[in-house]
C-alpha cells in the first residue's frame, strides 16, 4: 500500500467510525433534541472525512471536485436541517427529557418568534 493509500484508509475508517457513533447515538440519547445533536455533528464530520479519503483513493480532478461539492453542501445544509427539525419538534410540543434543567424558550413571549 502506498502512503496515499494509508492516509486514505485512515480517513475512511475514522469517518465510518463517526458514522457508526451517530447511529448508536440515535438509540442511546434520551430525547429528540439530543438525538439531533447526534445526527448532525458526527454524521457530517464522518461524511467529510470519508469523502476526503475517497477523493484521495480515486484521484482525478472531476472526482475530487464532485466529492468536495458534496462535502461543502453537507456541511452547509446539515445544521440547517437539524435546526428546522428541532424547531418544528419544539413547536409541536415534543416532550423534553426528564434530565432537562431549564427551559427558557417556554417563557418567551409569543410575539417574538417567526410564524
Amino acid at each position: 500500500m502506498t502512503g496515499l493509500d494509508i492516509v486514505a484508509s485512515v480517513l475512511v475508517l475514522s469517518g465510518v467510525a463517526l458514522t457508526v457513533t451517530a447511529a448508536i447515538g440515535l438509540h442511546r440519547f434520551p430525547d429528540v433534541f439530543a438525538r439531533m445533536h447526534a445526527a448532525s455533528k458526527p454524521a457530517s464530520l464522518g461524511l467529510a472525512l470519508t469523502l476526503i479519503g475517497t477523493a484521495l483513493a480515486l484521484g482525478g480532478a472531476d472526482n475530487v471536485t464532485k466529492l468536495l461539492l458534496v462535502i461543502a453542501f453537507q456541511l452547509i445544509t446539515a445544521p440547517i436541517a437539524a435546526h428546522m427539525v428541532g424547531r418544528a419538534a419544539y413547536r409541536a410540543g415534543t416532550e423534553l427529557s426528564s434530565d432537562t434543567t431549564k427551559d427558557e424558550l417556554a417563557d418567551a413571549p409569543d410575539t417574538q418568534l417567526d410564524p
Binding site: 429528540v32 480515486l58 436541517a81 424547531r87
Partner: protein, 86 residues
Amino acid sequence: MNIVTAIALGAVTFAALLALARLFRPGSLADRVVALDTLLTTAVVGIAIYSARIGDGVYLDVLLVTSLVAFVGTVTMARYIERRGA
C-alpha cells in the same frame, strides 16, 4: 485497500441497520425524520466507500443527488411537523 473498504462497508451496514431500527422504534415523527436523515447520510458514506473500492467515479453523482434529496425531504417534513404536530 480492499480489506479496508470491506471492513468499512461492514461497519456502514451496521450503522445503517441501527438507523433503520430507530425508524421503526415507537417515538415521535421528529424521531423518524432524524433517523431517515441519518440513514441517507450513512448511505452516501457507503456509496463513497464502494466507489473507492471499485476505483471508478461512476457513482459520485448519486452522492450529490442523495444529499440534496435528503436535505429537501428533511426540511419539508420539518415544516409538516410544525403545522400538524409530531
